[in-house]
Amino acid sequence: MYWNSLAEFLAMGKHGVYVWGSVGVMAALMVLEPVLVIKGQRGLVARLRRQFRAENAEKTSRQEKR
Amino acid sequence: MLKLVLAIIRRDLRLALRRRADLVSALFFFIIVVSLFPLGVGPEPELLRKLAPGVLWVAALLATMLSLPRLFADDHRDGTLEQLALTPQPFALVVLGKLLAHWLVSGLPLALLAPVLGLQFGLSGDALWVLCLSLLIGTPALSGIGAIGAALTLGVRGGGVLLSLLVLPLYIPVLIFGAGAVDATLTGLGAQAHLSLLGALALGGVFFAPWPTAAALRIALE
């Protein structure tokens, strides 16, 4: 271990902004990306389910008419 | 094989010359874009002389981009492209012919016009000659690489801008060696190396591009 205190760790020898700016953006985007993929998946699934339900309902109503 | 290529060149030239307005407007675009730079950065001669190779080459790239969509779109619209794809001859040869014809009506005029514009930037005689030469050698590569892009985006939404997005990054090596050749002449280093590499890119571009282009056209025609 290498740092004498948390304050030193965060300061990164006066380069703190740059180092944590990099870590921060990288972490944020690497969280955002999968979140967006999951949202996309859920949206698609919801849309398809609505579509299937509508098709099912139409099919059964047509069957009942016969 | 050569006969096929020549026949295609002759046909495309004839068609292009019927629409002279398109060719001339591309040249005027070149002139206008080149003139924008001094208006943007100021008329100081030293600065303009340094900027000239890059500015002229970038303007040439953009003017070429403008003429690319037309490469296959007209033939596609009236069904000729489909007919050409169905002939027993290799489609890639047809593409090569169209590519060379495109160079004759777009790259070649640019190369001949550029030295005149170079005078506006205070380029020396040597540099003007190298400028012309670099464009003569480099623009076939632009036609080749551009053909790939034109084929990929044939009939696709957002055509022209999408085409630029795809093709401009691939143009960068040609730009580097082309503008670099003129720059090297200005600094007295000699343009030999640049022009040789440019030549290699041109040969590669012209002779390898027809294959992916033909493949992309077939996909577009399906």
Partner: protein, 251 residues
């Protein structure tokens, strides 16, 4: 006597791959987390301060893995796309489409971390050195691929067109890199050398672990994305219907 041979080609069908991918995803996330923690531990807590660059150099533990991944993903993307073009494997093309945004993300992160590294070290947010400029061009290539596929409505045509573009791109990347290097050395504007000339073993380990973390992450996200793509493309099939229909939907 059960047949112990798995027919791997079975998984070339989207229907078979969908559940397989679903099972693999958590494992890759776990691996990403493990490698990530290990890599950051080594990079931020174990590796010593650099003599010339102070603490700011630690950004390389993010910048270098991002660069490596951006280039590696492009190769893998082009490989899958090419395979799909050559053998008509639909799943191959879907995988390439799934990888592209992640590759573009890493290219962007490489540029971002590169800028944040450059500013304290060399005083400028951006330097036109060979590596950063090539990385920028790689980002353009990714954007072009994504834009082309988005613009084409027919998925099969989009796959094939993207494959041609990716393959042309792969061939061009060395040419572009070489020409940019040439351009940079000739112009000698910034004699900046972003690569560390001598690297302590610890630093290499840190970069390697972080790179592995990024690789596992990329696979996890790509598998997640490809599942969405599979559902979208195969939405007219019975198996998708069966997969998604809930009991409440049945009338």
């Amino acid at each position: 006597m059960s047949n112990k041979h798995i027919n791997w080609f079975r998984f070339a069908s989207p229907q078979a791959f969908y559940p397989l991918a679903g099972k693999m995803i958590p494992w890759f996330w776990a691996l990403a987390a493990i490698f990530g923690v290990a890599g950051l531990y080594v990079g931020f807590l174990v590796a010593p301060t650099d003599a010339q660059q102070g603490e700011g150099y630690r950004i390389i533990f993010l910048h270098v893995p991002a660069s490596w991944m951006s280039m590696f993903i492009y190769l893998v993307m082009a490989f899958w796309a090419g395979l799909g073009l050559a053998f008509n494997f639909r799943l191959s093309g879907m995988m390439a489409t799934a990888l592209a945004p992640t590759g573009a993300l890493f290219a962007f992160l490489s540029l971002w971390t590169g800028a944040l590294w450059g500013k304290p070290m060399w005083g400028a947010w951006w330097v036109w050195d060979a590596r950063l400029t090539s990385e920028l061009i790689l980002l353009f290539l990714y954007v072009g691929f994504i834009a082309l596929q988005s613009a084409i409505d027919d998925p099969r045509r989009a796959d094939k067109a993207g494959a041609i573009l990716a393959l042309v791109g792969v061939v061009n990347v060395p040419i572009i890199y070489f020409s940019v290097k040439w351009w940079n050395t000739l112009h000698q504007g910034s004699s900046v050398n972003l690569a560390k000339s001598s690297m302590a073993a610890v630093m290499l380990w840190g970069m390697l672990l972080c790179a592995l973390a990024c690789w596992m992450y990329a696979i996890a996200v790509a598998l997640m994305r490809v599942r969405t793509i599979i559902l979208e493309r195969e939405r007219h099939t019975d198996w998708v219907r069966a997969e998604l229909i809930q009991p409440a939907d049945e009338v």
